[in-house]
């Protein structure tokens, strides 16, 4: 989006609005393009518990705001943001709304029409699909106005050489082909579609219900551990299946490698969200997360190892 839409539509004096809870992938591309086009990026605050500061986000909109970019679900705290509310304010200011759905689309039903988002991006590998492929949804009216991202085969309708003028007249294909130059990732596309069908057969409501059940159980069990601090809001109804935590006296990497010894894989570090860790005043965190294949028995085993870590 930053390269395809931002490069051609943003200029000096314009503003892009993002939040401090964003994954680096929703910060770095805008920073890169801002260095070329000279627009300003405004960062909306996040509360100490990891929830979005809606008042701050909404107060930063102005006539200069061209696009608001927000995670639907935080990849660190799993806080679910009210993107419909932000989209409404964005549209009142004549701005577009881009939603990072990498942590929402795999875990819940997302209705782009109801939420009225202009663009939604998500990844294949977060939803049982392959790496290296993702989806960008966009309203047709926006996609039709946008210029192609890259040039090559398939994204054109006609390339006509004009003799005498020594140039080619080119017309673009219709969206979405206009944005898919060259031979596409056929295998990736087929595999991702199968992943989508698989999840739809289960039902996204069931996926969310299972994850919430596991999260509630895991949080309750983790609270048995006196040296473990859980981060993120205490109201679990606002969260999905991710729990960031720290263990007193141990680095997050030591914690992750300890779990690894028992065949339990968790993530450690910044999780590509360093600004949010600054909000939490953390040098790093460990992060456990759940999906459709996890069970309560696995959480019990996780807690056993966590209690062993506390004794180290």
């Amino acid at each position: 989006m930053a390269y395809s839409w931002g490069l051609r539509n943003l200029k000096n004096g314009d503003e892009v609005l993002v939040s401090l809870m964003e994954h680096h992938s929703n910060i770095v591309p805008w920073e890169l393009i801002s260095k070329i086009n000279g627009f300003t990026i405004k960062y909306a605050k996040v509360n100490n518990d990891g929830t979005l500061n809606y008042e701050d986000f909404e107060s930063k909109f102005s006539s200069k705001t061209k696009i608001a970019c927000l995670s639907h679900v935080s990849n660190v705290s799993s806080v679910v943001n009210d993107v419909k509310r932000i989209a409404k304010v964005a549209h009142e200011h004549g701005a577009l709304m881009l939603v990072d759905g990498a942590q929402s689309v795999p875990h819940m039903r997302v209705d782009v029409r109801d939420l009225n988002m202009d663009f939604l991006a998500f990844s294949g590998h977060k939803m049982l699909g392959p790496t290296g492929i993702g989806v960008l949804y966009g309203k047709k009216e926006h996609l039709e106005k946008m210029e192609p991202f890259q040039g090559g085969g398939e994204m054109i309708r006609d390339v006509s050489f004009r003799q005498g003028r020594e140039q080619c007249d080119i017309t673009w294909n219709d969206p979405p082909w206009k944005f898919e130059a060259g031979t596409p990732d056929i295998c990736g596309g087929i595999a991702l579609m199968e992943a989508v069908k698989y999840l739809e057969r289960i039902g996204m409501a069931e996926v969310l219900k299972h994850e919430k059940s596991l999260t509630e159980y895991a949080v309750k069990r983790m609270q048995e551990c006196s040296k473990v601090t859980l981060h993120g809001p205490s109201d679990l109804s606002t969260r999905c299946g991710i729990i960031p935590f720290t263990v007193e006296g141990m680095s997050s990497h030591d914690v992750a490698l300890f779990f690894d010894t028992y065949g339990i894989m968790i993530r450690s570090g910044f999780h590509c969200a360093q600004p949010l860790h600054q909000v939490f005043k953390l040098q790093s965190s460990a992060r456990t997360s759940f999906y459709i294949y996890n069970t309560r028995e696995e959480i019990d085993r996780f807690i056993e190892v966590l209690k062993e870590i506390e004794q180290v």
Binding site: S251, S252, H253, D254, L257, F258, D260, T261, S268, G269, F270, Q274, H277, L282, Q283, S284, S285, E308, Q311, V312
Partner: protein, 89 residues
């Protein structure tokens, strides 16, 4: 002539906290690597029989029984390679 690459599957920098380097030894070589490290480095502490804290040439590191190690205070990739060569070869 064995090389560091014979033993090491992956080297990656950590993010957050004090910068460190995680070394993952090749699965079929990890026991050999752990044995060599235990001979050459000075064992400072053993935690739960899973984490072993070592010191070697002024560098501290934690070796896990799974065949991974976290090194602290490594200045460069070359320095990491030199330490591994001294430990493993």
């Amino acid at each position: 002539m064995p090389t560091v690459e014979d033993y090491v599957a992956r080297i990656e920098e950590t993010c957050g906290e004090e910068k460190g380097v995680i070394v993952t030894f090749k699965y079929d070589k990890k026991d050999d690597a752990i044995a060599k490290i235990r001979k050459k480095a000075q064992l400072k502490n053993s935690l739960s029989g899973i984490i072993f804290e070592f010191a070697f040439r002024g560098i501290s590191f934690r070796l896990f029984s799974s065949g991974k190690a976290i090194f602290k205070g490594i200045k460069s990739k070359e320095a990491m390679h030199d330490i591994l060569a001294a430990l493993l070869l």
